[in-house]
């Protein structure tokens, strides 16, 4: 898959994640999942999924042209 198609897929995934933020199906659910209230557990997992998607974005669709003035060297 070329980079443009990958990037498009990732942008679609971001939009889907944006939609999934609105968890109306858990609105009144007071049960516990992983020891947390269902709504809170959902949004905690949401944060981890967001981090995973960001990792894909960084590794598969990084704007390489912005690194042109990079001077390299050790980083902390």
């Amino acid at each position: 898959m070329d980079k443009k198609a990958t990037r498009t897929l990732l942008y679609i995934a971001l939009f889907v994640l944006f939609l999934l933020h609105n968890d109306f199906w858990l609105w009144e659910d007071a049960s516990l999942i992983f020891g947390l209230p269902a709504g809170l557990a959902y949004h905690a997992i949401y944060c981890l999924v967001a981090a995973g998607l960001m990792a894909l974005l960084v590794n598969l669709a990084w704007p390489e042209h912005l690194d042109v003035s990079d001077d390299g060297g050790a980083e902390l």
Partner: protein
């Protein structure tokens, strides 16, 4: 013991600030943006620490006390998606342009992008006006924390003064590098101590499951979104984290990055950091109803500090107090430095010295302005009502509504200074309009259906940018080539 531990912590903070000064190169670029030398880990920690204010730490638990878990969806997980994307799409590009053309402030970029001093000046005024309540919240939060954690032994004004003096010393002495180093330390401190506080306090309730069961018995609605949060509010609250794209202090930290790759850690790990800090804060705020069932309105903002004082007095209480101080100072330092940079570069250097100013003069003025800003903030904190905390969300809303300005500057070649001016004007007018309504009624949403005013402000601002740009003459090709070469 509590006070002793906090003072030891503050001395360590000062020591780190002093240590970083050993790398100071004596130039304006080094003082204001650490010679653009900060790597990915320090960038992640300093960006996260800067964005986690007293409002986030104390306000999150206070809000959870009233509305329960919904506050995490509103303020935390929305930020976990939006803020890393702002870093990815906006931060990296601004860093690249900043490095290429030597920008030190947002206004320098906007002035250059649209060839307009007027737009630069208007943005300067709006950005400064919106950050003032933010600064005050930090200083007042420090005072209130120290007062409550010492059971009233230390007056509020001394806590505020202490915060200002410590920040003053390491920011004026070490500039942006000191700020980044200290922020990293402080971010690690408040993330770690937040976890410790959570474990200790939850243990007092017999574990998490037991604590949540007790909350369920007293206030079952805190365990659900329910009536506390309207669906439209959750949806439109997503606009608020866009504010990160226009915060002067976030912009300053972006410019400190060594290269574009330094943004990789902030983009990936920011959502994880959000979860680590906010989940304990929200849960502790909810558990606050067990010990302090009658807190009304803004009084709930102190619930976290009160719980620490009750359940973890002495040494641990001091450590946890230090954690709250860490969150406060890691924002206040960046905010005061970025405003000092703006006054130095955008006003004194541009208008007073016609952009010809020696390196030592820039550093001197930067230090003078940081001193003046902290002094002014401290004196204002003495005469300001605590209801200032309500202003925080309005501050965020104003910055978020300006997001179309930066988006157009970076991605829309056809955008013009007239579009930018129209956008800024619309934000100012709508902000004043909604603020007048919202100040009287903190629960106000547009039409009473849950829509946050920021959504309207953002939409109108974007529309104004488009209409204003299309109705005015297109920008010159040389300008487009300068900013859209790649």
């Amino acid at each position: 013991m509590t006070t002793f531990v906090i003072f030891v912590y503050l001395i360590i903070v000062l020591g780190i600030g002093m240590l970083s000064h050993r790398m100071f190169r004596g130039t304006g670029e080094d003082y204001f943006v650490a010679s653009r030398s900060i790597g990915p880990f320090l960038l992640l920690m300093s960006l996260f620490g800067t964005n986690m204010t007293a409002f986030a730490i104390l306000g999150a638990s206070g809000e959870a006390y009233h509305t329960g878990i919904g506050v995490f969806g509103l303020m935390a997980s929305s930020s976990a998606l939006v803020i890393p994307l702002v870093f990815y799409f906006v931060g990296t590009r601004l860093w690249s342009l900043g490095k290429k053309y030597g920008y030190l402030t947002q206004v320098q970029f906007f002035r250059d992008r649209w060839r307009s001093d007027g737009v630069g000046l208007a943005l300067f005024a709006v950005l400064i006006a919106l950050v003032i309540p933010y600064l005050l919240i930090g200083v007042m939060g420090g005072g209130i924390t120290l007062n409550q954690i010492t059971d009233g032994q230390i007056p509020t004004w001394i806590g505020g003064l202490l915060v200002c003096v410590i920040v003053f010393i390491y920011v004026t002495y070490s500039g942006a590098r000191g700020t980044a180093w200290v922020n990293t330390f402080q971010t690690l401190v408040f993330m770690t101590l937040g976890g410790v506080a959570f474990a200790v306090i939850v243990n007092k309730y017999g574990g998490l499951a037991s604590a949540l069961e007790q909350v369920r018995e007293v206030r079952p609605n805190l365990l659900i979104f329910g009536e506390n949060i309207k669906p439209l509010k959750l949806l439109t609250f997503m606009c608020i984290p866009l504010s990160a794209g226009m915060f002067p202090h976030i912009f300053m930290h972006w410019l400190t990055a060594k290269n574009a790759r330094s943004f990789r850690y902030p983009v990936i790990f920011y959502p994880v950091c959000i979860a680590v800090v906010w989940i304990p804060s929200v849960l502790l705020g909810m558990m606050g109803v067990l010990d302090f069932p009658d807190l009304q309105g803004p009084a709930a903002n102190s619930v976290l500090v009160q719980m620490v004082a009750r359940h973890a007095p002495g040494f641990l209480g001091g450590l946890l107090g230090a954690g709250v101080f860490a969150a406060i100072m890691s924002s206040l330092d960046s905010q005061s430095l970025s405003i000092g940079t703006m006054f130095t570069q955008d006003i004194v250097r541009h208008y007073g010295f016609h952009d010809k100013m020696s390196e030592s003069q820039q550093v001197l003025f930067g230090r003078l302005f940081v001193t003046a800003i902290l002094a002014l903030t401290f004196f204002l904190s003495l005469i300001t009502q605590r209801s200032i905390f309500k202003l925080a969300v309005w501050s965020f809303s104003g910055y978020a509504a300006l997001f179309p300005v930066i988006l157009a500057a970076l991605f829309w070649k056809r955008s013009t200074k007239w579009g930018a001016a129209a956008s800024i004007l619309s934000v100012v007018l709508l902000w004043i309009y909604f603020f007048r309504i919202g100040w009287e009624n903190p629960e106000y949403t547009v039409g009473g259906v849950g829509m946050m005013p920021v959504a309207i402000m953002l939409g109108v601002s974007a529309l104004a940018m488009v209409v204003g740009s299309l109705l005015s003459r297109p920008p010159e090709q040389s300008v487009i080539n300068r900013f859209f070469a790649t």
